[in-house]
Point group: C2
Chain length 246, copies 2
């Protein structure tokens, strides 16, 4: 099994993270020279990773990807186990659980936001989630290599397991719920559950939630994109944390 | 000139808004029946808009779009003039200006967020911005029909014009700036300027800014996607507004 990473940012971030094994990097001879390409070459040399300059035509089999002239063939993402994650010490830790996000762009963008917000791990269910593929890696701008990703068979069992270890469960839900900024996110370990754009968080998880939160809208329009909704909520927790530390 | 709108949400929202002239709606005979499709048919009947059920093959020329079996041929978006916008009365009004956003997905997603946040208008420059096409309309989930879009030749002149009318200028800038949540967004008309992902807000606009704000990151990673960054900032202004009204 081999993954493809494409585009300067995604390749560079994967290299820097040191969490992936690189089999080969292919660079088009006609690529625009840039600082990032130079950095990729420098790190490859330093780490003894094979890289090849090649004719543009040789990359044509990858043209379904918007590869900007650079492709890396790497080992797949390593997932971690929920138990391994929980065996570490946690204080004011934050997990994001995605309940059925099927769009690769959204998934990548959510991972990127989670890394910027210092989220500790992302839980994704095996089923009803888009695979972690090149699109996700690209949309995450390589962020996927900087955060623990936990795959679970059953999101409900994972939530029950977290509750047993005194994690608080916060579910984003559009109706009959508190405003997201009225929750005090400090001084607890919490898991924030975001649902699919149309279906929302599943009923069985809503039942287990300690808080159900919504983002109040100023205009009566259907809703926010899930990646934007997550950004708004998780950065409210960052805001509260930074203000409490003043 | 005719625009194509595709996908259930985008078509439905354009119909509801009443801001577009529909020439024709094409629905694939093999489309999954759904509440939204029924609503589209009901509104079309009510408004006397031509709709046709057609064999899937007849939509094949639109297959570059992820159309979910529904296509509408409509009049182009109507833009409004900055002077016309300013001639209305404004109190605690909010504009978002996009300085060089070239990705259609991002642009659509930003428009959707702006509508949810009750932003009054979006200013986009004629040049260095992706065209308002079907991709943008789809990514906005039809939100583009629910907000004033102002196209300007020169973003700098537009900012100068706004300042002349006492609008405050807030620019998002990653370095040497205030945290976005330390600005008091109430009791002023403001324009929030968001820059392109790599280049940021142009220097000539930064010079005119009353506030330069950043989103503090908890992990040293390159940056947020521009659509997520906008969501975080604009919903902080919503949060402040709703809290001040309690």
């Amino acid at each position: 099994m081999e993954d493809i990473i494409y585009g300067r940012n995604a390749v560079l971030e994967a290299l820097k993270s040191g969490t992936r094994t690189f089999n080969k990097i292919l660079i088009s001879k006609s690529v625009h020279p840039s600082e990032k390409i130079n950095e990729i070459i420098d790190i490859s040399k330093e780490k003894g990773i094979l890289f090849q300059f090649t004719a543009k035509e040789n990359l044509s089999k990858y043209d379904e990807y918007n590869h900007q002239g650079i492709i890396a063939l790497v080992s797949p993402i390593k997932f971690i186990e929920l138990e391994d994650f929980l065996s570490k010490e946690h204080q004011n830790s934050r997990i994001v659980m995605l309940d059925g996000i099927e769009d690769g762009q959204n998934l990548g963008s959510i991972i990127r936001t989670c890394v910027c917000a210092g989220v500790d791990a992302i839980i994704i269910p095996e089923r009803r989630t888009c695979p972690i593929n090149s699109t996700v890696e690209k949309a995450s701008a390589g962020a996927i290599n900087h955060i623990d990703i936990i795959k679970v068979n059953s999101p409900v069992s994972a939530i029950q397991r977290l509750k047993k270890s005194d994690w608080w469960v916060i579910a984003a839900e559009a109706f009959e719920s508190d405003n997201y900024y009225d929750v005090d996110y400090n001084n607890m370990n919490f898991v924030l559950v975001m649902g699919a754009e149309h279906a929302g968080v599943s009923k069985s998880i809503l039942k287990l939630a300690d808080f159900k939160i919504k983002i109040p809208m100023l205009k009566n329009f259907n809703s926010l994109n899930v990646s934007n909704a997550l950004s708004i909520i998780i950065f409210e927790s960052v805001r509260q944390k930074l203000i409490s530390e003043r």
